[in-house]
């Protein structure tokens, strides 16, 4: 055995000793210096829970809101925003719960907050209420017409949208969003009971669109054309689809 050790070259011994020392240090640190909770997952979880529990609580939860504010949660309960927590819009409110008089939660009043969810985006689910902020009452804060605790479209023209939902949704994002269906289509009452036999009208004269789009008659920013030279004998909607975004 002694011969075997003698046969190992001097440099190899040095390297082996170095590695052995490093391995030993690693072992000693792990066995004797590391605290137990670094090695045992159960203990580690325990101390992590203690650490997390000691952190400051920021959100109070909707139940706490309901303890003082009776009206809003009651209204919200049956509305479209029933699944939204109060603090989704009003921000973290634990401080307000602790000190209701001095600390007040925020309430978003500008258009851009609602638009996080309600801006038009083709990927949102069908039927989800969406608007084009450029055409939908520009600059008016949403809360002037919609109550965020019980949001509803101010007028619900269910009579047309009940069947023509796709047109309704397309129109909602177009420049014609604020024009009601019946402005362009005069609809006999019977259309509701026999929709195939009694049909609503379509504008059959160029002058109808010309009321807004003829040169000289449009408001600011409204596209206008010279009715005498533009489009010849065709009716406007043969080329322009009025329900489409941008009304191309």
């Amino acid at each position: 055995m002694k011969d075997f050790f003698k046969k190992i070259p001097e440099q190899a011994v040095r390297i082996i000793v170095l590695f052995a020392v490093l391995a030993l240090v690693l072992l000693v640190v792990r066995q004797f210096i590391l605290p137990l909770e670094l090695k045992d997952p159960a203990l580690q979880k325990n101390s992590a829970m203690e650490r997390e529990a000691a952190k400051e609580v920021k959100y109070a939860g909707a139940q706490s809101c309901g303890q003082c504010h009776e009206k809003e949660p009651e209204m919200k309960k049956s509305g479209y925003h029933r699944d939204l927590s109060c603090e989704s819009c009003h921000g973290a409110a634990q401080k307000h719960v602790d000190n209701p008089t001095d600390v007040k939660p925020t309430s978003p009043k500008k258009r851009d907050y609602c638009s996080y969810c309600h801006n038009y985006n083709s990927s949102r689910p069908t039927g989800f209420p969406q608007i084009n902020p450029d055409t939908h009452n520009p600059r008016k804060p949403c809360i002037t017409c919609h109550n965020p605790h019980n949001p509803k479209p101010p007028k619900t023209p269910r009579s047309c949208a009940a069947c023509h939902a796709e047109i309704e949704r397309t129109k909602a994002t177009s420049y014609h969003a604020l024009i009601e269906c019946t402005v362009c289509h005069s609809t006999p009452e019977k259309h509701k009971t026999s929709p195939r036999t009694v049909t609503p009208t379509k504008p059959d004269k160029r002058e109808f669109c010309g009321k807004c789009h003829a040169k000289g008659s449009g408001g600011k920013g409204m596209p206008t054309v010279d009715m005498a030279t533009h489009g010849e004998k065709y009716v406007c909607w043969q080329c322009h689809y009025p329900h489409m975004l941008g009304g191309i």
């Binding site: 070259p9 001097e10 440099q11 190899a12 040095r14 390297i15 170095l18 590695f19 490093l22 690693l26 640190v29 792990r30 590391l34 670094l38 090695k39 985006n121 083709s122 990927s123 949102r124």
Partner: protein
Amino acid sequence: METAQNFAELAKQVVGFIYPNEIEIHWSILIVVYPYITGLVAGAFILASLVKVFNVKELQPTYRLALLTALAFLLIAPLPLQLHLGQPWRSYEIFLTPNLASAMAMFGFVYLWYLMVVLLLEIWFEYRRDMIVWSSESTGLKKWVLKVLSLFSTDISEKAVAFDKKTVKIITIIGIPSAFLLHGYVGFIFGSIKANPWWSSVMMPVVFLFSAIVSGIAIVMFLYMIIIPIQGGKIDMKCLDKVASFLFYAVIVDFSIEVLDFIHRLYESEESIKILSQLVSTKLFMSLVVLQILLGMLLPLGIMVVIRVFRLQEELRKLLYFVCVVLIQMGIFSTRWNVVIGGQLFSKSFRGLTTYKMELTGIEGLLVSLALLIIPFVVLAILIKLLPPWKKEELAGG
């Protein structure tokens, strides 16, 4: 407030639909720098192994340089990760309390194995005799530094030197699979992320490995062409041509594998193909099609073909080789960018793309990344000063 501004700026760049937590990407340019640097390590080592294991004599002048380059970059390789994760003083804990089930946590051991058992050991045995000789010739601090580095070894008999040589060869043989492991591992991390179709591919470790070999050979060639003239030596053209021919083959293999991966994805046409082609043709067009493929691969390949076919003059060859290696470095950096950043630019809904806005001064910013790319060269300069790769007569003889 700044976060909100950032968010608003990013939101304008978003195309289509993305989930809310996808707007800001989390693996930034630091994570691009990390595989780039480890790739250089693995590639430089493979070049060194060509001399010892495959006995390619012409490459001898680059052998020690390749080893030192690998070491300089390996020492810096964990730094981008530590800066990205934060709290670098805790990093030693992955050795003390290892999580054996996590591939990411195993990096510590892959790294340790490669640094301690392969690279440092090989360099130690390679330089041991020289360190003893140099320490006996020098005085003061340098003498003692060399003495400590040689672990106070004194035996420079023929028998001992023969043992060193034999050991170096054995370590190199172990080193080749280790180098494959080191960089294959980085590819494995990305390739095993099932939820990300841009990454999830068994080809990933192989693609990473070959691009690593390409970048490693190119960086050693680059350094060789710069350091030799600085030290007043003459570039050995036989060596340079040989390195270039290996680089040429490596680029061809790397290119073929990447094309294979690309065709395979196209033919497979999984549900993600639409968003991925949109990604490639819009957000990654510049970095993937132009920088990585055209400038980083096809142009250097074309130049190298021209050099081989027309047997150009020495000076012109040098110039073109230099252009090639710079282009290749840029191309491989883009490869890393396209993998790391590209994989985070599309939504898991496959319906939209987000964008990456790089910081300038923050810890994940451009300046820190540039510093991380420069530090290895400083480390290399110190290593070369301490452990010169060439003897004076070698420099003069070319």
